[in-house]
Amino acid sequence: MAGADGDDSLYPIAVLIDELRNEDVQLRLNSIKKLSTIALALGVERTRTELLPFLTDTIYDEDEVLLALAEQLGNFTMLVGGPEYVHCLLPPLESLATVEETVVRDKAVESLRKISQEHSPVDLEVHFEPLVKRLASGDWFTSRTSACGLFSVCYPRVSSTVKAEIRQHFRTLCSDDTPMVRRAAASKLGEFAKVLELDYVKSDIISLFTALASDEQDSVRLLAVEACVSIATLLPQEDLESLVMPTLRQAAEDKSWRVRYMVADKFSELQKAVGPEITKNDLVPAFQNLLKDCEAEVRAAAANKVKEFCENLPEENREQIIMTHILPCVKELVSDTNQHVKSALASVIMGLSTILGKDNTIEHLLPLFLAQLKDECPEVRLNIISNLDCVNEVIGIRQLSQSLLPAIVELAEDAKWRVRLAIIEYMPLLAGQLGVEFFDEKLNTLCMAWLIDHVYAIREAATCNLMKLVEKFGAEWAQNTIVPKVLGMANDPNYLHRMTTLFCINALSEACGQDITTKQMLPVVLKMSNDQVANVRFNVAKSLQKIGPVLDSNALQTEVKPVLEKLATDTDMDVKYFAQEAISEMLFVVSS
């Protein structure tokens, strides 16, 4: 075996390597993606001495090829001979970490981070750390950007002298004169802080953090907000006030809305990181301001956090804070001018009821829910309806049903089919909460009307909805309320409606059981086999196949089989095809 394998192994390799230089990008890409095969066949030594230098030299290529290469090299440790030799992978990855295209560079950094773990501490200092230093002092911004992502992976495992150097390099990059590099550094600040000794966090990181948070470019400042979360988590409570809070306060009032947006977006994380005391004194007013911000983007981001923020407030004065500080802002947001803000609020506002309890919900929140249920924007109403279950637990849905109904009816008839689709999906849930009587009285007609919607997706969803309703309310209910109406549509002049009957039968037969299916549905299906539209006929064949398992074998033999056989000789080829397919399936059912 060894001999045969040896012959074959090198023969395609030559071609592969040749193809790495092929004119056609696709072929180069194919070869690169099989790079591990080449390496495996070459063996570890030749991979190290020949393949890797070759790859390092040919680094100028299409970005797509480079991306594949960067990814492959991250998994190459075993192929170059294990951790002992892993540093051989550094030169090609170093070049890849300097290319312009961001995806390639990011992938190279990811691979470098991965293989850094496979370096022994000695190799890390001898090979990896010098690479980081070279990148950090590169001429073009790309290499410096890449360096930012590598400090934190080597810092914990090197000697204290090298650590000092790494900190110095990171400091330099944080004040780089290209904003791209400062952004990269700012986005890694939190990660780097986590691996530093607490003393250095206080002495180094805080000053960098403060500087980045007051950078002249808002794209840098906003990244400092993210770092703020990690840094605040690392510091002891007593230092937060002096080291972090001035910067955070400043960020929450930054003149750029992007920074304020970031603060709003990270609010829950910030809240957890700074603890209850600072939350109470500082974050509550800051949050109020964000909810009243002049930019809708910021208000929407803050509105999204209302529930989470309230949930995480210290329990002893939670209710008081919400009632006196947060709720007044929330009330204003209900009539905001921007629909994204209202819709963000509507997606979380129901969650407040569990926090505030029954009485407060009825007195303060219910009017807001009702207002939002009447909002002009369908998305707002939908968001309220989709979260009804939270309120149901606290006050029951009955309180809402008077307003709920007009809202549902209006959404059910909305001009946008996606809105109609969304409300259909909540029907089973609503039906369960409102009960069968209310449903029969108010909603049943809607559910039937969707069956003849002019959009297929709505008819399909309506069919599926019926099935879920039957599962909830039982076969007897189906027999009395739904089945007659569905079967009535079999005589509709519009063939699309006739087909809907068939689709409904497909969906309902199982839930309705053998009796209803055989006695009421089957005759209708069989009758439709004479329909003049071929689409209806082949759907009859499909339906018969579908409901077959629910029927008894007698009905199958005496009624279904002859009809299918007739359809199998239909003039239309599709009808024939589906009839034949049904027959072969049914025979299987009958015989087993």
């Binding site: 001999g3 090198l10 030559a14 495996l40 066949a41 063996g43 295209e101 791209m180």
Partner: protein, 515 residues
Amino acid sequence: MSAISASEKVDGFTRKSMRKAQKQRKSQGSSQYRTQSAPVELSPLPQLKDAPSTEQQELFTQKLQQCCMLFDFLDSVMDLKSKEIKRATLNELVDYVSTNRGVLVESTYPEITNMICTNIFRTLPPSDNPDFDPEEDEPTLEASWPHVQLVYEFLLRFLENPDFQPSIAKRHIDQKFVLQLLELFDSEDPRERDFLKTILHRIYGKFLGLRAFIRKQINNIFLRFIYETEHFNGVAELLEILGSIINGFALPLKAEHKQFLMKVLIPLHTAKGLALFHAQLAYCVVQFLEKDPTLTEPVIRGLLKFWPRTCSQKEVMFLGEIEEILDVIEPTQFKKIQEPLFKQISKCVANPHFQVAERALYFWNNEYILSLIEENIDKVLPIMFGSLYRISKEHWNPTIVALVYNVLKTLMEMNCTLFDELTSSYKAERQREKKKEQERDELWKKLDELRLSNAALVQNNSHGLLGVQNNNNNNNNSSTNGDNQDKSAEAAAVTPANQDPDVGAATGESSPCAK
């Protein structure tokens, strides 16, 4: 009920223009964040022209300070009276600095720049339309334009005033000022960008000390646009300024400028919204090549590297740019680049999208390009022939076929013998290509099998890697083995175009990777 009637639909779908028209309202935005407390009502000051000359200076300063008051324009009825006073005052100020001499004394500079900064420097509001398409959608207009316009006008007149002294102004119009000015180029309002363009141009002209800084910051904006956000509204305007800046570069070009060309301008071609600024971009590129023809080769190679693969519209733009470059190319440079370039043109000519094919075929209407082709016909014709011959028979579009016939005729007239040779060898060539294709397929199949057996090897044997390595050694040692040599011959035959001997060598003895 839909508001659009059936007659306005195409095949049941609403026309895009109808959908757009429905939601089209004049959209306005502005962002002034708590820069000051609620505006105080302004009271009108006496006219400057009525004031005695001794008091004019003082009054000028007062008016400048008065104009620092900002108003909310999203609320159109608020502070109407004060807004009108400010508007009138700004008008008067514009008039004052543009018609009077001797009004720009040193002490007014800080007041002037302060008024300008307060009014124009702001964080741009978030776009109303998150997927704003500059080609299709109406831009959001700056709501406070009635004032901001006059402030821009004032800034421009200030810079253009004959008494204006950059040496004094540079204390105020500094790097920070320029940086904020550049950020405003992202404004969605085209009127604002237009003013900014003229103003930045004046600043670049008057402040020598800021030139390098301005270029560098534009660099950063472009790099951020290309690699980070893919969004910046003012690319075309900045390129327009750069066009005239490049025009003024001294020769020989500095390394910094060349780097800007290769690392910024060429990658800018990859942007999604290239159509919005391609004309300005191509102008910049051609300016560079007119300055320094030796840059032609790297530039064309760069364009070929970023050649669009899926966007025909962009491909047409690239072809247009290539033609502009070819218009100014030196024959020696043409020789250096003809091979890769015409390989691409040959692909374009055969493009099923007729606009791409047509644009490429139009090259043959260009006298200068024709003369370059004729000079190098022995190189160009073999590259072009296959595609042209094939599409003359296959292309679906009759206009293209007609154009191709003309091109073939022109080429034939240039070198008849070569043309005949290529025609007669066309079939053989085709078959050779097909065979090559087949052989490649087989090789890949074999490779897949190899991978399978390798995987098995690794699974069965914990020293799998070592095993393979040993096999290789065996193989190397037995290179005299006849069977093995057959294979190396075959491998070499598969890649006849490759002159490198290392393919053979790889199977035989040593280095498959050496160049």
